[in-house]
């Protein structure tokens, strides 16, 4: 009987309680990402990045049916075969870009606009390009409604970057790519960093970090999303 009452309360709860306490859920999420950060390598995520994750309202970037999962540490479908990245991966990618307050950042693959919003909290300007029309429109409207005035969205081809706003301090390419577009490397400032997540939807496999030296020399690092060594560990 007690179980039945508990069940009834659970079922009735959303109707009675109204919106959940998103701020508290965000705090929990940040705690979870922080706890997992030790898997990312020797350097835990910067406090600024984690604080931003605690501010950006992820539930406003997911489709209505997914709102209840918005603060779970997992990727979610946003329609059109696209996903909103797992918060842990967002933190990792953002951290790898080493954002500064006056940076100008280019994003290729706006998606829901969540990554752009996270970056917008940390840098001076974000330019973001999306190839799916419906996503470009909705993300642009959403970012504007949420007051992210320092984000400019555009529908179109990200392969050639955004020449009139180049060079960029950092570039993030979330669209699938069989290779790193050479024009993007050209639009990266010396000393700049580019991050490309690699893998199937829902399953980011690695992050490619491309660093352009002050002399223009390019080196990439493949960063496993998770520290997974030793590979020939004990049975």
């Amino acid at each position: 009987m007690r179980a039945l009452i508990a069940l009834a309360v659970m079922l009735a709860a959303p109707a009675v309680a109204g919106d959940p306490d998103y701020a508290a859920l965000r705090t929990d999420l940040v705690d979870e990402v922080r706890a997992y950060a030790r898997y990312a390598g020797d350097n835990p995520f910067s406090d600024d990045v984690l604080a931003t994750l605690g501010r950006v309202e992820r539930h406003r970037f997911v489709p209505p049916g997914q709102v209840r999962h918005a603060y779970e540490n997992r990727p979610l479908p946003i329609g059109h075969g696209q996903t909103i990245s797992q918060p842990y991966i967002v933190a990792l990618m953002t951290d790898l870009l080493e954002p500064d307050a006056d940076d100008v950042v280019l994003e290729v693959g706006t998606g829901s606009g969540y990554q752009a919003a996270v970056l917008a909290e940390l840098v001076g300007r974000v330019y973001t390009i999306e190839i799916v029309e419906a996503l470009a429109t909705s993300a642009g409207e959403r970012l504007q409604a949420l007051g992210y005035d320092n984000v400019t969205t555009r529908l179109g081809d990200g392969y050639y970057g955004w020449e009139e706003h180049a060079p960029f301090d950092s570039i993030i390419v979330t669209a699938a790519a069989s290779h790193v577009p050479p024009p993007l490397i050209d639009q990266l400032k010396p000393g700049g960093r580019m991050v490309i997540p690699v893998g199937a939807r829902f399953m980011t496999q690695l992050l490619l970090l491309l660093e352009k030296g002050s002399d223009g020399e390019v080196v990439t690092r493949q960063i496993a999303a998770v520290r997974f060594v030793p590979l020939t560990g004990e049975h």
Binding site: G156, H179, P181, A200
Partner: protein, 804 residues
Amino acid sequence: MRRLLIATLLVSAAAIGYEILLMRVLSVVQWHHFAYMIISLALLGYGASGTFIALLRSRLEPRFEAAFAGSALLFSISMVICFILAQRVPFNALEIVWDYGQLLNLAVLYFAFFVPFFFAACCIGLAFTCRGSESSRIYFFDLFGAGLGAVLVIALLFAIKPQTALVLLAVLPLSGSILVASTLAVRLPLGIVQFAWLMLLAVGVPQAHLGLRISEYKGLAQALEVVDSRILKETSSPLGLITVVDSPTVPVRHAPGLSFGTRHVPPPQLAVFTDADSMSAITRFDGRPESVAFLGDMTAAVPFALLDQPAVLVLGAGTGADVLMALFHGASRVDAVELNPQLSGLVADTYGDFAGRIYDDPRVTVITGEARGFVARHVGAYDVIQIGLLDSFGASGAGVQALNESYIYTVEALIDYLDDLAPGGFLAITRWIKLPPRDSIKLIATAIEALRESGVSEPGRRIAMIRSWNTSTLLVKRGDITSVEIGRIKAFSRSRSFDTAWLPGMRADDANRYNRLPQPFIHEAAVALLGDKAGDFRDRYKFHVEPATDDRPYFSHFFRWRTLPEVMALRKAGGAGLIEWGYLVLVATLLQAATLGLALILVPLALAKQAWPAGAGRRFGFYFLLLGLAFLFVEMAFIQKFTLFLGNPLYSVAVVLSGFLLFAGLGSAASERFARQLPWPAVSPVTVAVAAIAVLALLYVALLPILFDRFIGLAAAARIVLSLALIAPLAFFMGMPFPLGLIRLMRVAPGFVPWAWGINGFASVVSAVLATLLAIEFGFNAVIVTATALYAVAAWDEAASRAG
């Protein structure tokens, strides 16, 4: 009676046609490995219908014609309706590690496809049960129909789209229903439904309902989301659905592993998808080499830095990228082998002008055929054998291909390729890189094994591997790699910011300069694999990197159970990409098959409470369980083994399935006479049949590789005939133990007969999936040997109970 026989043939043809059609369709809308689910489902339908008929026999028998006509009609209707409904199940296999609700979706999908098979099996089961005196003729028409259905659906798939083929197939059981119902006194309601359904099929089920709903996470669906992109052409055949997509606003630029130091941007391309995934591209070529100069800045171009004007063999030429690369580098001759003529046709004809008429170049010869079969016929002919990227990265990355048999990357295949090289020639294989590395390491392990088996004592001298950030190219030379060649590989790599993962005599600190891995994993693995403790390294590695062989041709299977808890725990810390979910979906399918088999076959029987003599249940239950497991083990292993010989899984399914049905049916029909005419009265006929099965099965384990090797170069029709001839004797004897056991059971414990069918059906359902899991772990030969052992135990048990 004749009407019933024709109706049986029609239902049987439609059932097997539907089975093959669903495999094709699910490869398009989801992924290839659902094929195993379909085979298991069809068997579940037969098992559940056996129980259903056994329980309701007394009520169904007096209304046989109406029950048959009704079942056939329901089969026809459910074929279409369940197809439409199943496509609306929001199953997303990629999300399975995040959302366990997807398992429920998978179960719904499974159940939806079960329904039509249940009704089909009801028709056949009713005919056998209620017209037992005609069982041999029914059997013949049933089996003949099955064979006909397999041929029919393959032919249809060459001519029309799968969804149109579905409608035509649905007409078959409807015709059967009408035929049988016409013998009845006027049955208005049934007639009205038949007529209405016929009209609907004739007028056309709206395409919007029947259209394939491709998973939005497959490459084609994603490409079509891009602004202004459109389908230029779509063709369908049993070999695949080919879709050409143009994207004028955001052009396709497919250049895997392109150096980030390149100054050359790829020209406009057309994207080509096979089964809505596995993207490749037709590159526009205006005749000016500089327009495709990017082709020199990919890892796959490395053999051309070593040889001048080589004779090149491209295996899996697809849309011509590797052919264009060879021409760009001044190849003297390019032979391009491609299994699917539709792909070659796109480059040669449909988009010939766009592709710069490269297939009309006098140096190029296009061969339609299977890579292994072609290589077996040519020896020592080429300076370069090029195997490019054959799958898309997305698919490769998520373990989607884990269950695909691929006979391209096995030890035996590499030995054949090396034989096909001229002295001093290079085999070049390009793969996507994963992190932690898997493909590249397995490829090195496979090459080392192939060289060792070819008698090379120091394989490390013949191997080189270079890598970009996302591709690696392995070179295997026929002969030792010279210091001049080492210098050229280094220069090629350095100028393009590629790393050398392995070169004879290289230093470890050279292995990780431009594209830095957390550790020089691939180099370290190569060192370990070339050393004394290679086996130890392979055992300890967290992913499965044992070389693939023709017996276990699962190159893309990297899953290890002991790694699963670790990656599941790390899933929220970015470790989801490490989970090889293709394998897990198969395990989930097995669990579902077992659960549904229990629920639909065995539980109803248990509720019916039949009576039989004490001890008979255990004895006969065990016997029929073993037979069900063993039969499907052999059948599934043969389907996969013959994929190498017949060149395509769908052909293999069609040929092996109908071969087994036909010849096991003949064996079954002959079993009573066989038992009567045995010259040894003291020996059980089951023992004799099982002895014949064991001898033949074990003989095939030894002989099939040799026979395949010898005859793989034959024309397709000849290979099909030979396959059927090989299957015939084994299947003939495999058809005997079941009816022989049944005859005895009827005498000893007739109340247990429905259970015998049920247990056998349940075992088949489970076995179809279990066989594949075992093949992945232990190889096809092990599955066949296990099946032989199961048959032997069954025969021993039967002989013992006879003596007792």
